[in-house]
Every structure is written in structure tokens, then in C-alpha cells.
């Protein structure tokens, strides 16, 4: 394999690993603020139990997010020097603002949020929790501005092949930002909703009848049930926006080869780029036209429109985009089914009497948010290929001059570390859940109590 392909795999591996943890921390920060606030208002034990459990998961996820994020910021230089050289004048300020307005805020107030409950007044502790949640959301905002600009660039001019910013407002509020930002924030909310419900269901299954578990089950399922319709709506709008700006990506998502009306919605197919057709299609007639153009005879772009004179395709690789899209939407549908069923059951019988099979299904879905989020990002990013910045810079033009064996070696090392940490992370979450279920809930105290209690250093 050449250094280009290896660098791509390495980048994809690193960003995929990184994104998992921000996806959790962005929304979990707000959820913790909610738990903390409910406790301050009601004084009920169950809220502080929930806070104490999830703040541990938050701290762990945050650490993983930070260290994998540091890897990300070095990647640009080690593997993609052409990226900053070409578009640094736009990407640079955006990254700088992310570091200055978000990273320091999170990092400093995280210390107070985690360890300061007894050292600072309650209002400052709640404020610190708020600032951490706010900081993670700001990170997401700035990085998604950059990412969206890479998909739908505007507000710049090219001088000698180098991008120069002309209109910062246009750069920041580029056409795909509103959709990508809302879709990503909702994705984060869903990931956390299903994680909380899933872990609570697991605790119930192994015999934890505590009130905190019912509360978390109810919280997670209802949050999921509220967010998923919004997410599906947002996803639809996102797709329509993409159709306008990156039609080749949508053609790949739909697996549609020929431009035309009455395009069916493919539920299953095996796209074959060599033959430029699909095998084994299962389709809903007129479906794609209806979704994308809101009429059965709407004209949907096809992949054959994006082929150069000499036959080289100018569209992204079809199969990965096509399949990732189905994984994302499929997971979304499963989320819809589970959370609405759950909300119905809770409404009819309460969160204490959920049937075992339902609890098992909820546990199985604990990490479904990750699956959908990764799949969604693969649609987005692979769908942009061969461009790194649409119409401005190809991925190939940005790659660095590093020997392939060196990239291979570091790639293997990263993959080994990631695999190991993945197992450790999921293992520890279930371990903490088991301990909490056994009543060894690490703390059962009021966080504002004055006497120190002996907890091993955390």
C-alpha cells in the first residue's frame, strides 16, 4: 500500500476514535448540569446518584477525547501538510478560535467541576459544570464550521493556489453548517440518551431495583423518543441541502446511476462500480424521487453524470457511502422503534415494570449512537471524495511526503492502542454499573456535606 492510502486509513482511524468521545461529552455535559440542577432543586438522592455515576463516565470520556484530540491536531502536520499550506488562511483562524474559546474553558473548569464540589460555593460549582458543557458545545461548533466549510466552501478567493479569506461571515455561516451542526448535536443527544437508558436497563436486569435506575431509564428513553423524530427531520433537511451542493454524494447515497424521474428508494442493493449498476435491488418505487424532490416524478441526479471524458469517475466510491447511509438510517429507525415503544410502556405501566425482553433490547442498544454517528460521518466524508475541500483541494494533493512503512508502523501502533482502550472503556462502564447495582455506589453522600469521606483518589 502506498503512503497516500495508508495516511487516509490512519486519518480515518484517528478521527473515528476521537469522535466517539466528544459525541458522548457534548451532550452528557448538559445532562449532568440537568441532574445537578434537579438535585439542587429537589434534594432527592436519586438525582445525585445519577450525577455521581455519570460524572465518572464523563471524566473518562473526556480524558479519551482530549488525548485523541491531541493526536488529531498533530495529524495535519505529520500526514497532510498540503492541507494547511493550501487552506491554512481559513482553517487556521477557525482552529485557533476553537482552542482559545473552547479547549481552555473546558479543561480549566473541568478540574473545578470534578474535584471542586467541596472547595467552592454551590453556585460556582454549577457554573463550572455549565461552562464545561458550554465549552464542549463550542468545540463542536468551531470544528463543524471548519468541516462544513470543507464541504461547501465560500467567502474566499484563490491567489496562486492558496486560499485567502474574503468574508468571514460567509465562511462561518456556510450553507451546510446549520444542518451539520444541528444534526451532530442531536446525534450526541441521542448517543447519550441511549447510553443512559442502556446502562440503566443493564442495572435493572442484574437486579438493581433502586429508584435511581427507574429515573435514568425514564430519562434516557424519553429523551431518545423526543430527539429521534427531530433527528430524522434534520437528516432529511441535511440531505436536501447536500443535494443542492454536492449532488454526486447524494447519488452515491441513493445508489442511483442514471439521472431521471421516478427513481426508486433502494432498501438493499449491491452497487458495482465496474459494471456501473446495482445487483440484487430491493426497492420502493418512486421512493427516492419522493424524498428528495417531494414528487413521484422528481428528477434525481445519477452517478453517470459525474464521469470524466476519459471514463475516470469524478464521484465518490459508491459502496461505502451507500452502505454507511443505510446503517445510519437503519439505526435511526431502530432507535425510533425502541424509544417510542419504551415511552409507551412507561406511560402505561411506569418505568418499574418494563418487561425483560425490552430491557435486553435497550441494553443491546446502549452504544447504538456510536454506530449511527460513525456511519453518518463515513457518508459525509467519503461522500466528499476525491475532494478534501470541495472544488478547491483534492485529498491526494494534500498528502505529506512520508515513507509508507513509517505510516504503516504508526498506524498499527495506533490501532492496537485504540482496540485496547475501546475494550477497557466499555469494560469499565459495565464494571461501574455492576458496582452501582450491588449498592457499592461509590458515594451516597450529599456533595455539599462538609466532612471529607474516604474515597480513593479519583
Amino acid at each position: 500500500m502506498d503512503a497516500f492510502l495508508l495516511s487516509r486509513i490512519q486519518f480515518a482511524a484517528n478521527i473515528s476514535f476521537h469522535i466517539l468521545f466528544p459525541t458522548i461529552t457534548i451532550a452528557l455535559g448538559w445532562v449532568l448540569l440537568f441532574f445537578r440542577y434537579r438535585f439542587a432543586r429537589t434534594g432527592l438522592q436519586k438525582w445525585i446518584d445519577a450525577y455521581m455515576f455519570w460524572v465518572k463516565v464523563f471524566a473518562l470520556s473526556f480524558a479519551l477525547g482530549v488525548v485523541s484530540g491531541i493526536t488529531m491536531s498533530f495529524q495535519f502536520g505529520t500526514n497532510w501538510p498540503g492541507f494547511m499550506e493550501a487552506v491554512g488562511n481559513v482553517a487556521g483562524p477557525l482552529l485557533a478560535y476553537e482552542i482559545m474559546t473552547a479547549f481552555f474553558l473546558e479543561a480549566v473548569f473541568l478540574g473545578i467541576m470534578l474535584f471542586g464540589a467541596r472547595k467552592v460555593p454551590a453556585w460556582l460549582h454549577i457554573l463550572a459544570t455549565f461552562l464545561v458543557a458550554f465549552g464542549t458545545t463550542m468545540s463542536a461548533f468551531w470544528i463543524l464550521v471548519l468541516n462544513s466549510w470543507m464541504h461547501t466552501p465560500q467567502g474566499y478567493e484563490l491567489r496562486d493556489g492558496v486560499v485567502h479569506a474574503t468574508d468571514w461571515f460567509a465562511i462561518i455561516f456556510n450553507p451546510s453548517l446549520p444542518y451539520r451542526l444541528s444534526h451532530m448535536l442531536l446525534a450526541s443527544g441521542l448517543t447519550v440518551a441511549f447510553l443512559i437508558a442502556g446502562i440503566a436497563a443493564f442495572r435493572r436486569l442484574i437486579g438493581d431495583r433502586g429508584e435511581a435506575v427507574s429515573t435514568q431509564l425514564r430519562f434516557g428513553l424519553i429523551l431518545g423518543a423526543v430527539l429521534i423524530p427531530l433527528q430524522i427531520l434534520m437528516g432529511d433537511l441535511h440531505g436536501l441541502n447536500t443535494l443542492e451542493h454536492q449532488p454526486a454524494k447524494v447519488a452515491a447515497m441513493e445508489g442511483n446511476w442514471e439521472t431521471g424521474p421516478n427513481v426508486p428508494l433502494l432498501l438493499f442493493a449491491i452497487p458495482d462500480e465496474a459494471a456501473r449498476m446495482n445487483h440484487a435491488e430491493i426497492a420502493i418505487p418512486n421512493g427516492a424521487s419522493l424524498i428528495l424532490k417531494h414528487s413521484a416524478d422528481g428528477v434525481v441526479p445519477g452517478l453517470n453524470d459525474f464521469v470524466a471524458e476519459d471514463g475516470t469517475p469524478l464521484h465518490p466510491p459508491v459502496a461505502p457511502v451507500f452502505w454507511s447511509f443505510r446503517v445510519m438510517v437503519g439505526t435511526g429507525m431502530a432507535m425510533l422503534a425502541l424509544s417510542w415503544l419504551g415511552a409507551g410502556l412507561i406511560w402505561r405501566r411506569g418505568a418499574d415494570a418494563l418487561p425483560r425482553p425490552f430491557l435486553m433490547a435497550t441494553t443491546a442498544m446502549a452504544f447504538s449512537g456510536w454506530v449511527a454517528t460513525l456511519a453518518g460521518w463515513y457518508v459525509t466524508e467519503i461522500g466528499r471524495q476525491p475532494w478534501l475541500v470541495t472544488g478547491v483541494l483534492t485529498t491526494e494533493a494534500a498528502v505529506g511526503d512520508v515513507a509508507a512503512p513509517m505510516v504503516m508502523g504508526t498506524l498499527m501502533a495506533y490501532l492496537a492502542v485504540y482496540l485496547f482502550l475501546m475494550i477497557a472503556y466499555i469494560g469499565v462502564i459495565f464494571y461501574l454499573a455492576r458496582r452501582a447495582a450491588e449498592g457499592k455506589s461509590p458515594t451516597r453522600e450529599d456533595p455539599r456535606r462538609d466532612t471529607p469521606i474516604a474515597v480513593p483518589a479519583e
Partner: protein, 333 residues
């Protein structure tokens, strides 16, 4: 002063220098704590971790800022430096990953795994320190891979690792008391040897790397103006040496001194380096003026920086105030 293609690169080089310096000092002490792990008992480790718990994340953010400024203000240099240092960067990143996660996992994983996470914490700290030292050496040598340069890199790797462990010990002296503090004083006594040797070796070698550097340091009258730098360093080393013989004192006076002394040494060393290399950002190849991004983009960043940097400093001070005093065991409530 107008903001143009001559002043902006200097401002950004200074900002980058400031964040590297802050990073080396701040992450220096928590990397040092990790390096000292094998010498501490399990209970002492918990206390040492507690002393850095609220700070380490923010400390590492200075690295992100430093590399960020290199990336956004000097894109051409960023690519050149990081591709040349590809391997040590990867070692450092994996070290940082291990360290950062071990910190969390050791307190949350089953007790039976705690020792392994402690080992990972040490290994990560060692990989990070050694890789940074190696990169420093390669940078001084002009980023060219020859056997001699790599050997020099190994020397600086050792020197920086010892220096970090010294500043780590100084931090433990400052943040703890009783038996652990006494132990930390003996760690520092060991470390100061290594630090003196390392500092000496790097200072002696640097001027001989190139004709340009030699002339920078040894022509008249520069040599007179520069003389305070090495003289001050020697004076601080002597004072550190003396203080370590008497620490810990009754009433815990001067427990801050080793930390302050080590910090001062880092600052002096840093200015020496800055003097050597200015105006180059890739030694002997690329100056800060040649590598800088467009003035418009730099101005945009600068405006933000002027607002945000004081705020960052403000809440950093807040956090050090909240967690001042001797470290006690940490808990989330």
C-alpha cells in the same frame, strides 16, 4: 506599530514561545510525577495523582495551543517540522494517550487492574518526556537524520526526562507534607545531578552545531551581554543544591523554592534557545517571515487572542487558587 508582514510573525513567534514555555513548565511537573511513579508506594501514588488531578488537562492544552499556533501561523514550518519528526511525534502521542487515560482508568477500573494502569501511567510519561527531549535535540541539530544527530537526540531525551522528573519532585515537595515530602526531597537530590549534566551538555553542544550559532554566542560584545544567562543558571543550580540539603524545613518554609528554581532554569534555558534560533523557525532553512500565513488571517487570530488570553490566564489563576495548599485525596463530591 502597524500589523503587517514584519510585525505579525514576530508577535506570533512570541505567542508560540510563551505557550511552549508554559507547557514545558506546567506539563513538566505532571509528567515528572508520572516519571517518579516507580519509586513511590501505592498510597503515595494516590496522593501524587491527587496533587495534579485538577490541573493536568489544562496543562496539556498549552501543547495544543503551541502546536496550534505553529499550525495556523506558520503552516509551511508546521509541515516541515512534523514530517521530519514523524516517528518521535507518534511515540509522544501514544505516550500522551496512555498517560491521560491511565490517569482516569486507575481510579475507576477494578482494583486488581490498578497496578497495570499505574505502569501505563509511568510508561506514557516516559515515552512523552523522552520523545519531547529527542525532538528538542533533533531540532537543535537542524532536523536532519544522521547517526550523530540521533545520538545527540538521545542525550537530550535523557536530559529532558531527568529535568521533568526533577520539576515533578519539586512539585511534590511543594504540594505534600510528612513522609512523602521527605521522599520527594531525596528524589530531587538525585534528579539535580542529571539536570546539571543535561543542561551543561546541551548548552555546550549548541554553539558548535553551526558557524552561525557559534558567532551568535561568542562574538564581542554579545558574549558580555549574554554572560548573565549561564551565570544566573549556575547560581540557581547552586541555590537549589543548597536548599535541598535543608528541606523540608520546620514550618514548611521554602517548600516552594525548588519549584521556583526549576521554573527559573526552564525560563533561562528557553531564552537561550530563542536567542539561538531567531529568526529561524526551521533551523537554517525557513524564517518566521517566510513561513507565516497571510497578514489578514493572522490579524483575525490576534484580535481574538488579545481578548481571550487574559481570560484564560484569569481562570487558570482561579483554578490554582481553588486548589491551593497541600494536596488531599480527591473525590468527585
Amino acid at each position: 506599530m502597524t500589523l503587517d508582514a514584519t510585525t505579525l510573525p514576530v508577535i506570533f513567534a512570541a505567542l508560540m514561545g510563551l505557550s511552549i514555555l508554559l507547557y514545558v513548565i506546567l506539563d513538566g511537573f505532571d509528567l515528572g510525577v508520572g516519571l517518579l511513579f516507580p519509586f513511590a508506594t501505592p498510597e503515595e501514588r494516590d496522593r501524587m495523582i491527587a496533587s495534579i488531578g485538577p490541573f493536568w488537562d489544562a496543562n496539556e492544552t498549552w501543547l495544543v495551543l503551541a502546536i496550534g499556533i505553529l499550525l495556523v501561523a506558520f503552516p509551511a514550518a508546521h509541515g516541515a517540522i512534523l514530517t521530519a519528526l514523524y516517528l518521535p511525534v507518534a511515540v509522544m502521542l501514544i505516550g500522551l494517550i496512555l498517560r491521560g487515560v491511565a490517569f482516569e482508568f486507575r481510579a475507576k477500573a477494578p482494583l486488581a487492574h490498578k497496578r497495570s494502569w499505574d505502569a501505563a501511567f509511568f510508561a506514557g510519561s516516559l515515552m512523552t518526556s523522552a520523545a519531547q527531549g529527542f525532538m528538542l535535540g533533533m531540532y537543535v541539530m537542524g532536523l536532519e537524520w544522521t547517526l550523530f544527530h540521533a545520538a545527540f537526540g538521545l542525550l537530550t531525551a535523557g536530559a529532558l526526562t531527568v529535568a521533568y522528573s526533577f520539576i515533578g519532585a519539586a512539585w511534590v515537595i511543594y504540594k505534600t507534607d510528612s513522609a512523602l515530602q521527605i521522599k520527594a526531597v531525596s528524589w530531587a537530590r538525585g534528579g539535580i545531578w542529571g539536570m546539571t549534566l543535561g543542561l551543561g551538555a546541551v548548552s555546550l553542544a549548541t554553539p558548535f552545531v553551526s558557524q552561525r550559532l557559534f558567532e551568535r554566542w561568542f562574538s564581542f560584545p554579545e558574549v558580555m551581554l549574554l554572560a548573565p544567562l549561564p551565570l544566573l543558571s549556575v547560581a540557581i543550580l547552586v541555590l537549589l543544591w543548597k536548599s535541598l540539603r535543608h528541606l523540608p524545613t520546620k514550618g514548611d518554609h521554602f517548600a516552594w523554592f525548588p519549584l521556583a528554581g526549576a521554573t527559573a532554569l526552564m525560563v533561562l534555558g528557553f531564552f537561550g534557545m530563542a536567542y539561538s534560533f531567531y529568526p529561524f523557525i526551521v533551523p537554517e532553512q525557513l524564517t518566521i517571515y517566510e513561513a507565516a500565513s497571510s497578514p489578514e488571517s493572522l490579524t483575525i487570530i490576534l484580535i481574538g487572542t488579545l481578548f481571550v488570553l487574559p481570560m484564560i490566564l484569569g481562570y487558570t489563576i482561579l483554578s490554582y487558587t481553588v486548589f491551593r495548599g497541600k494536596a488531599t485525596n480527591l473525590s468527585y463530591d
